[in-house]
């Protein structure tokens, strides 16, 4: 998967590129709107991460030109201003998602994966990792063949992890996906919920599947 990053802030751009490369993507970085437009038009990228505030040709113009030229790649725009008009404008111009700076890198990664996955993969009806299995239709979870009783929210949380194995999920992303709480609040609700889920699916089994990445969030994988 090739991702094009258009970002004029040197440090941000470099770390975006490094982070995305280390997450397994091929990332190209350009530092102004004109180069961004040329790279975007030349094709070959699967996703565009576009800073709105660029010198010269700004992000909106880049986006407009690309869409006018019929380039349909998903676009995630980054803005420093949390203004409703900005968001609406971006989405109207044909962007697919946005993030307001400062954002968590794990959040960006989650959005990027969602955008790349969109319309491509049919959601599986049974999910599995190691000996943990989840039947989404029958709402049933088993580990090592043992039936595990989960509440609705615990089930949703586990399903989220299983659909994104190996991805770091931030607390706010989890809160938004599982509980539809779309604001950043300073609580440890997610922490407690994960502790409870672990008690049911992880504590009595090996290997452990849910891992805490301090300061970043949680990841489900076989280590």
């Amino acid at each position: 998967m090739k991702i094009l990053i258009v970002e004029d802030e040197a440090k941000t751009g470099d770390y975006l590129k490094q982070g995305l490369s280390e997450a397994g993507f091929t990332a190209d970085l350009v530092r102004n709107g004109l180069d961004g437009m040329h790279e975007g038009l030349s094709g070959g990228h699967d996703l565009l991460i576009l800073d709105v505030n660029l010198p010269g040709l700004d992000g909106w113009q880049v986006l407009k030109t690309l869409r006018a030229a019929g380039r349909e790649l998903p676009v995630l725009f980054l803005t420093a201003r949390d203004q409703v008009e900005d968001r609406v404008k971006g989405l109207e111009l044909g962007a697919d998602d946005y993030l307001v700076k400062p954002f968590a890198f794990s959040e960006l990664l989650a959005r990027v994966r969602t955008l790349l996955r969109r319309g491509r993969v049919r959601e599986a009806e049974t999910l599995a990792l190691a000996d943990l299995e989840l039947d989404v239709l029958k709402r049933r979870a088993t580990r090592a063949g043992q039936r595990i009783d989960l509440t609705a929210k615990e089930f949703a949380l586990l399903e989220l992890f299983l659909r994104r194995p190996g991805e770091v999920l931030s607390r706010s992303f989890i809160a938004s996906q599982v509980w539809d709480m779309n604001f950043d609040s300073d609580t440890n609700v997610v922490e407690v919920a994960i502790r409870r889920l672990r008690a049911k699916i992880d504590d009595d089994f090996t290997p452990r599947l849910i891992h805490t990445l301090r300061g970043m969030g949680y990841v489900m994988e076989i280590r």
């Binding site: 968590a104 809160a175 604001f183 407690v192 300061g215």
Partner: protein
Amino acid sequence: MGHWRHSITLRLSLAFALLATLVFAALGAYLSRSADAHMAELDAHELFGKLALTRHVGSREPTPAALAARLNDVLIGEHGVLVAVDGEKGPIFNWPDSPLAGQLAAAAGAAGETPVRLTLVGRDYRVVAGNVQTAWGETARVVVGRDIRHHTDFLDQLQRDFWLALLAAALLTVVVGILIARHGMRPVRAIAQTAGQISAGQLAARIPETDVPPELAELVVSFNAMLGRLEESFQRLSDFSADLAHELRTPIHTLRMQTEVSLAKPRSNDEYRDLLASNLEEYERLSRMIADMLFLAKAEHGLIVPQREAIPLLELGRQLFDYYGILAESQQLVLEGDELTVRGDRLMLQRAIGNLLLNAIQHTPAGGRVALSVHSREGMAAITVSNTGPAIPETALRTIFERFIRADQGGEGSGLGLAIARSIVLAHGGNLTARSSGEITEFSLTLPLTDSQPGIGEPQPAASSQ
């Protein structure tokens, strides 16, 4: 140009001058007419005297010659008077003995005993005429004229003098008017001067309300009231800046300390990882605080415009209980009330009520009870979040919605949650109050109900989209 058009001083002075000129002119016209009438009366008196005299003499003297001689005697020394007596066969007597009297008699025409004015050889005369029955049995016509030049000269002079006086008076009024208006505007200039001296640093200054004329008192009072409001918001702003600096300095200080200490000597990878993770947590807190501050700043300037979709409140309560309930391991949670729907911003109301709920759960001791109830009261939806636990002191309750105020010293959280809840509720046209007594602390929030009937399952698209 613009300056003059709007100058109150000039406008007032011109208005004074115009008014004075009009009054003087009217007065002048009246006086001139009176003088004219008075002169006419004097002239008439004299004319009637001469007419009577001539008739008297005419009815006594036996012959025309005797009449003429007698009249000559009587009129000796009279200047400016013309007398003509015409008999049936021609002129009997003319005074003075010049063609002028004859011309006057001819010009008098049908004049009678009412004085008329006529002009003869460039001179103005007032004229009366009448008949006399002479002693010799003839009806003679008597015409008496009076040269009124000295009267008209006098009136003309009077009028000329008057217009000059009027012009002088008008100019004088303008000048005096400007001086008076300037003087009258002095309190206004004094106010302007005081206002001009007030800067952000000395908003405590006030314009004295005592020695101001009553017309300006209202202006001064409202101006002072405005200063009061400005002073208050400035005070709040500077308190706020100080708080903000303090709140930001603490985490940055921590970050700096731990980074410096860690870099002071080589450490293991795990230690570095720990440091970075700890830093990350602080960064997250900082950016959340900045986002919250921005939200509050925008709310204060009325820039928070909630979307208006139908929000079923009990459903929102259930969703919040689902989430925050996870934290209430040893407390009892109760959700009760009527299914009411308000129009509002889902995200914001979720946040506002969520903050109240979180606050309640955090302050409820184990075994306690947290309740969220939804009722309709006086046309508003009343949402109450209550919890059992030690009461909040009255003094703390007063400032509980201020930024960075934490009722329990050293409590967790940014100290912005309740301030945010309040600004969201206010932006929705509602109200948020807190009270605490005995063992119960209660946050009451009101929101305007939707226009439609409350409580009856509303067929709103947003309500069924969950």
